[in-house]
């Protein structure tokens, strides 16, 4: 009697372990894929392709020139068009600096005022020098710069 009860007990213990094991297995088989499934879009790295901005031939020495480029990005299943605009500046025709035209204060668009030789943000009167440094107004830091390269007379930028 005792013996068979022992055996019974061992069998039941095995079953408990098996239930926990199989239950855990199914849970994991469903739960683990769920994590990347949920995280997927968040982990997708932004495309770091070079974006062709345009020919540098229209950039004059020491005059920031505005380039606009519409790019298509895919978010989920929707393609959206987005316009990137940036000022390109060169002091020697060799080295080019590409600056975002988004004010570092509250993200209004700055524009180049040739007469004043500076960038002006109409929202809160932020003023940036030609090289993007803050001259006056509330902006906390200079205009953001894009990583850029020039190939065959065409300037490319990377979105930072």
């Amino acid at each position: 009697m005792d013996k068979s009860e022992d055996k019974q007990l061992g069998r039941r213990n095995f079953m408990k372990v098996a239930i926990a094991g199989i239950g855990g297995l199914i849970g994991a088989a469903l739960g683990l894929p769920a994590i990347p499934y949920i995280m997927g879009p968040a982990l997708q790295k932004e495309s770091d392709d070079w974006i062709q901005l345009g020919s540098i031939s229209k950039v004059e020495l020491n005059i920031p020139t505005l380039f606009k480029k519409t790019i298509e990005t895919q978010t989920g299943w929707i393609n959206t068009e987005e316009e990137i605009s940036a000022y390109v500046l060169t002091s020697n025709g060799q080295d080019y600096v590409v600056m975002s035209n988004v004010c570092t204060h509250l993200a209004c668009r700055v524009r180049w005022i040739p007469e004043k030789d500076s960038f002006f943000c109409p929202c809160h009167n932020g003023v940036f020098a030609k090289d993007g440094t803050v001259v006056a107004g509330p902006p906390p830091r200079p205009l953001d710069r894009f990583e850029s390269k020039v190939e065959d007379g065409v300037i490319f930028i990377k979105r930072g």
Binding site: R12, M15, K16, I22, I26, Q44, Q94
Partner: protein, 704 residues
């Protein structure tokens, strides 16, 4: 069941329970095993079969055969046995009654018997119902099997059905090498409309692909249409397409997507069909997509068709570059390789480049991705592949079509015919290369260049065609189109437009003088440090002999060669190379002015060159062609009359215009070199003509 029976059942059940097992873990254990089994089956189905997804719902599609989900099929099938007004019985009454019966079952069957053998009526009825449902389901599947092909919408097939099938029936047998895209777009057939207006280029490509490879279209629908919209990737780049199949799941754009490993799942024949659909074996279209990037609108080719096939198949090889290892020091090679990676950062290499490389590469610094690879190429030299090995990329059908088209096109038509027509009809006013000049019909007016990229970019073919056809009466241009009383028929107009358009990809060898960034060539002064003779020694002598006597390449010092082609043809050949021969496209390595120097030098190799330096030789011809329009006894601009030797030597407001033996001080020499007032005003003479005049004056300007 009466109370007694109920009590009896409960007592018996109590006893059974006492003999039984605890729910946990005994029963749950079994349940867990069952759950695991089911999970494995479902996961396997998800992995191996996947969840099906057909084409996007199209409410307008009337050809689709609707089918409900499988577990409704029996009902769907049952409806077939209840035609007409009876349908409502099959669809609503019977199922409704059946469900009611199920719900009321415990109240209908009240006998205490439980074992199924003790209740034969109930057991058999249930069996009959189940068997009936199974039978109906199977019957439904068998009667209307899921139509595999028709279910997925083949967009190209639909396009064909909508636009072509009315006249052409289910399919068109097209001889290989037909330029189908163009035919569809322009509708050149009898009674066939030009579809170019109604269909997008993508759609025409898809149609051409469908007509030439209907199987490929079906395969596309089957394999690719879930992700790719059909017409969009039709007429894709064959190099990319081939990569998709070669690299399978490793193909970068497919990396993050769940795709099959195409190499394993698709047969060779299927790949062939797919490729033929996506880049239809349509010669003209293949040429436009694959070749025109480098070759413009056509290639000049003189060999046989077989040789052309071989040539395209094998791709082109660059001429050998010497192995600089041994010739240059380690340090120099290091400096050079840094320079070619980024000239701006390593200006020190520039001098070295000038000394060793510029003679072949001109001022174009070859691009190298990193120093390592640059160093490797410089030290070992060797051939570079310049044209893809199309034999590995294109299917047999595509290759065939491309060869046919290229071969036919090289035999004239299009730009080539247009060039002759242009020379006959247009170049008098617009210049040989459309560079413009003073308007002969309207004094004081200047004709702007029509070969500049601004001009070409801002006008489409139709506009240019209209201008030619109708003329521009306000500017003194008469109508040239036959319908407007001009000399040119429609085909000729198209040929001229094609020739003009051709400048966009193949800018004219003689750059318009109006364009500011190209300097007027100055043949006597070697521009980038090397003279024409030196350049010839470096670039040409190895094949054409050091004095142009010929070798691998043709000889230049013979009459046939020199008289067989004008300067522009020479320039084009040097610049573009010859696809049929090892002749390199020097335009990749030499600058514009260097090639001009070469043309000028090659002209001096003419055996009759020295003999031709007499007025009655080439000089009078040059005068006649370029000067006499303005410098004749009637017009006599600047007081100079160029119609005879005597008048040429003596007349002129600042006579003499020509000082024998002294080219530098001769007004004529200065003018044609653009040193004083540029002559002729509509554009510079060709470099060889300039050379002839200069050499003639230097030789004492003999008459005979």
């Amino acid at each position: 069941m009466n109370e007694q029976e109920k009590k009896k059942y409960l007592d018996e059940y109590k006893k059974e329970k006492e003999k039984g097992v605890p729910f946990f873990p005994d029963i749950i254990f079994k349940d867990t095993i069952a759950a695991l089994l089911i999970f494995i089956i479902l996961a396997a189905l998800a992995y191996f079969v996947g969840a099906p997804l057909e084409a996007r719902a199209n409410p307008a599609d009337t050809t689709y055969t609707p089918r409900p989900e499988w577990y409704f099929l029996f009902l769907f099938q049952a409806l077939k046995y209840f035609p007409g007004k009876l349908e409502v019985i099959g669809a609503m009454v019977l199922p409704g009654l059946f469900i009611l019966l199920l719900i009321l079952l415990p109240f209908i069957d009240r006998s205490p018997k439980r074992h199924f053998l003790n209740r034969p009526f109930a057991s058999i009825s249930a069996f009959v119902v189940v068997a009936g449902i199974l039978f109906l389901t199977i019957a439904s599947v068998r009667e209307a099997p899921p139509p595999q092909e028709a279910i997925v919408v083949d967009n190209a097939a639909a396009l064909y059905a909508a636009n072509c099938a009315n006249c052409h029936g289910p399919g068109i047998d097209v001889p290989p090498g037909t330029d189908l895209h163009q035919i569809i777009a322009a509708g050149t057939h009898e009674g066939m409309p030009a579809w170019g207006g109604d269909l997008s280029t993508d759609e025409i490509d898809a149609l051409a692909g469908f007509i030439l490879s209907p199987k490929g279209s079906a395969l596309f629908t089957q394999y690719c249409s879930v992700c790719h919209q059909q017409p969009v990737i039709a007429s894709g780049n064959p190099v990319e397409l081939q990569r998709v199949f070669d690299e399978g799941v490793n193909y970068p754009p497919h990396k993050d997507v769940q795709t099959a490993n195409w190499n394993e799942t698709v047969t060779e024949a299927e790949i062939n069909g797919l490729l033929n659909f996506l880049a239809a074996p349509d010669g003209q279209r293949l040429f436009v997509i694959n070749c025109s990037g480098c070759h413009g609108q056509g290639v000049g080719y003189n060999g046989t068709e077989e040789e052309l096939t071989e040539l395209i198949k094998k791709g082109g090889q660059h001429l050998d570059m010497p192995a600089w290892k041994g010739t240059l020091s380690e340090k120099d090679m290091d400096a050079l390789s840094s320079y070619v990676v980024d000239p701006g950062q390593n200006p020190g290499g520039g001098t070295l480049f000038g000394q060793h490389c510029a003679s072949c590469h001109g001022d174009k610094v070859p691009k190298a991705p990193d120093k390592q690879s640059a160093l490797k190429i410089i030290s070992s030299g060797g051939a570079h592949i310049t044209m893809p090995v199309w034999g590995d990329i294109l299917t047999a059908e595509q290759l065939d079509a491309l060869v046919k088209y290229t071969f036919e096109a090289s035999k004239g038509g299009g730009p080539a015919v247009g060039a002759n027509l242009f020379a006959e009809n247009c170049s008098d006013c617009h210049g040989k290369s459309g560079q413009g000049g003073p308007n002969p019909a309207l004094s004081g007016d200047t004709i702007a260049p029509i070969s500049s990229s601004e001009y070409l970019k801002t006008r489409n073919d139709a506009t240019i065609r209209n201008i030619i056809s109708f003329g521009q009466p306000d500017f003194g241009m008469s109508p040239f189109g036959a319908e407007n009383g001009g000399p040119l028929d429609d085909d000729q107009l198209d040929a001229i437009v094609a020739f003009i358009r051709n400048w966009e990809s193949n800018p004219p060898a003689e750059a318009p003088s109006a364009s500011a960034d190209v300097q007027v060539p100055t043949p006597t002064v070697a521009q980038p440090s090397l003279t024409g003779a030196q350049l010839f020694g470096i670039a040409c002598a190895s094949c054409h002999g050091s004095s142009g006597e010929g070798g691998v390449g043709p000889a230049f010092n013979i009459k046939e060669f020199q008289s067989g082609r004008d300067d522009q043809a020479l320039f084009a050949t040097i610049s573009n190379g010859h696809t049929a021969t090892p002749m390199v496209a020097w335009g990749d390595n030499l600058s514009f002015s260097q090639i001009e120097l070469l043309v000028g030098f090659i002209r001096t190799l003419d055996p009759d060159y020295a003999a031709s330096l007499i007025y009655s030789g080439r000089v009078s011809a040059i005068f006649e062609e370029n000067c006499q329009a303005c410098h004749n006894p009637q017009k006599i601009r600047g007081g100079w009359d160029s119609t005879s030797y005597q008048s040429s030597m003596t007349s002129g407001d600042n006579a003499p215009v020509i000082i024998p033996g002294n080219a530098a001080d001769s007004l004529l020499a200065q003018s044609i070199l653009g040193l004083g007032s540029q002559m002729p005003p509509i554009g510079s003479l060709s470099p060889s003509d300039i050379q002839v005049i200069l050499d003639w004056i230097a030789a004492g300007a003999p008459e005979n």
